[in-house]
Symmetry: C2
Subunit: 464 residues, 2 copies
Amino acid sequence: MAQKPSIPKGTRDFGPMEMAKRNYIFNTVRKVFELYGFRQIETPAMENLSTLMGKYGEEGDKLLFKILNSGDFLHGMTPDEVANTSTLKLAAKFCEKGLRYDLTVPFARYVVQHREELQLPFKRYQIQPVWRADRPQKGRYREFYQCDVDVVGSDSLLNEVDLMQITDTIFTNFGIRVQIKINNRKILSGIAEAIGEAEKIVDITVAIDKLDKIGLDAVNEELRQDGISEEAIEKLQPIIKLEGTNAQKLDTIAEVLKDSEIGMKGVEEVRYVLSMLHALDADGTSGEGTSLNNAIQLDLTLARGLNYYTGAIFEVKAMDVQIGSITGGGRYDNLTGIFGMPGLSGVGISFGADRIYDVLNQLDLYPKEAVNGTQLLFINFGEKETSYCMPIAQAARKAGIRTEVFADSAKMKKQMSYANALNIPFVALAGENEINEGKVTLKNMTTGEQQLVTPEELISIINS
Amino acid sequence: MAQKPSIPKGTRDFGPMEMAKRNYIFNTVRKVFELYGFRQIETPAMENLSTLMGKYGEEGDKLLFKILNSGDFLHGMTPDEVANTSTLKLAAKFCEKGLRYDLTVPFARYVVQHREELQLPFKRYQIQPVWRADRPQKGRYREFYQCDVDVVGSDSLLNEVDLMQITDTIFTNFGIRVQIKINNRKILSGIAEAIGEAEKIVDITVAIDKLDKIGLDAVNEELRQDGISEEAIEKLQPIIKLEGTNAQKLDTIAEVLKDSEIGMKGVEEVRYVLSMLHALDADGTSGEGTSLNNAIQLDLTLARGLNYYTGAIFEVKAMDVQIGSITGGGRYDNLTGIFGMPGLSGVGISFGADRIYDVLNQLDLYPKEAVNGTQLLFINFGEKETSYCMPIAQAARKAGIRTEVFADSAKMKKQMSYANALNIPFVALAGENEINEGKVTLKNMTTGEQQLVTPEELISIINS
């Protein structure tokens, strides 16, 4: 036999069981997105490279998969020109198109391109693969799905409230206990401003983030190394040591930021979102005084996406599995500005399907009905028996039962191991006796129990 | 404003309404596939070019989208080497990967690569986009979805019976009246053999196919032009003039083919499939004496895929829309042979999502509930009113109602036109009076009717 064929590194095949699990994930998020009025769009796998280049930084440009122009991609370049042009520039000459790197830039492109048809606010979700020429490693793929939910054209904080509820509902439906962390870019800006180090937001946040691991003294030392003044570090102490409920934290920060306009705006925004979630908690039964099933925690060290988020920042971590962030997002005030349409504020969240898949697997949380395929298999004893079984199989399908008639009159053992391998819960057998009586023998593959039943009984047993 | 961004020619964005319709199509076929025990797989968008090249003919190789290798794709080629290498060979040097061109070759690759994990027969369906660098034109895209359903590892004709039932059920569920045509490659081979022109199957089929358009004399003239002998043309006459029911046609062909072993095998195969479909028609109510809702017709001019089909050939045409074939398939005896694993017979059908989409659009057959998004919109009159509405909205969602609270306290007119643009059937309003009474005003956007209701009444009205 020839060498086994293979697939490009960093890509994956998904077999039937993996697909069933993935579909369960996508259907669960999709259903919740739609409950909140988000509608699906899809964009092409290929975008013009002019749409993609320069949007993900220099490193990102290198990680774009580029598609060779059809036909004479050399465009009549002479060998000398080829020799004297850098690889990156040649790539740009040879390729006009590239594969989608994320769902955000295509979404921004979509909004600008279709702005005349769109009703604002535009609430969309998108579940599609993206491609990155990253070095493949455990848990990092070159093709992976993103599930993004965004609203553009509204700066109302009710959108943040919706997104928190969506996140909470989705993980509740999955049965995954999570911690939802929120922060606000304006608070971070305010802190940097209030301590007189406006340029050093990132350094400050990175250092504070290490408190649990390295302790207060080491954090302060790192801040000194970063060139933060003693006076600023002194002012930072209440924030580094920040503890307590969200309300207590907000009071402390508000005190530190009382002279920073942007900082106080951030405090107000977080307060409003939390208070709305609190107001929704009519019966007061849920955690942290909000309507969410999962705890929502203000975390000033949360600093993802500082390059583009301008308001709220979100992140979700699973409580019972060590896996890092499984969902994240935030508000960006200028998504479509890169395509010449400024002033559209948006906020969104991206759910990491691959990581959610890993968490559900580790905690074994897939509902049985979500991953079950065929429910009933008719054993094939030959042509005459099969002719008898086919109409019964058809009646079972009309009753909504996923049914197969084994196509080949193979050995009983082979047919039964097919049923076992596919986890088919019921097997029906009909030989001469059954045919004479107008019945079938129904075997419950879980209990091993067998019974002689009419076609009608068979359907009602399986459907019950 | 900068120039509007665009997408590569031959590709498409799908907006919310288009996606709702496409999801309806995919969900409908998926559900029927699963009723018959088919399970979904997905393969990567990128395959190794070695997997794809040479599988679609020379023309196909040119239509593959190739992905430029990351980094130094020149591999240190000298300018001379570049100058002395053909564009096609350069492309092969610069690119190791290409985009999926269809779902069949990746499926064959999947079966061979995973043969040790697979339980045969392997019944899989696959719904994914494919890419072809074809010249874009009306109805032909460079990115389009295929929906393939195949079984490999079984040469039983029961699979053909299942596929006919699946096809019939799917179009019945869509409400599209179709004509299902079947043929068998073995009958075509038998005919060519029986008239002593075994090499000229394709010419003969093409000529016969024109009978309706050009008449018998012209068909015979074309056969002469193709170099078919007078004696052979004479023998062909009963087949060219073939009319009547499937049974009558089969009798006529059997007479012509009685000395062709392969031809008679083909006749038997068609007879068996039709007789099984007949036997399933317990109540005798359906057309052409089969269990199908749609007519199934033996058509000897059906000759798609003669390069790879070895047995049954299928094609489906819509009765009420001029659009060509919307579904097609057949049996291939050596799918995995190209990857060094001979002897696995398979049979499958591919549903053309784009054409089905066009037919459903033209006949306006989308069920309302399949394309409806948000069911209930709360108008936003300000912060106080919204705080009152949010818990009611949340209760509606818990009752399964897709609900939005308009995020911005915009002008009433803007909010109502949002509801209209999105076809939202119910709008809820709560001002001071409603709040004082603990009620909302519910407006039915179809009838214009308004009523003052409690939150519980609102839910039961919308859910009824």
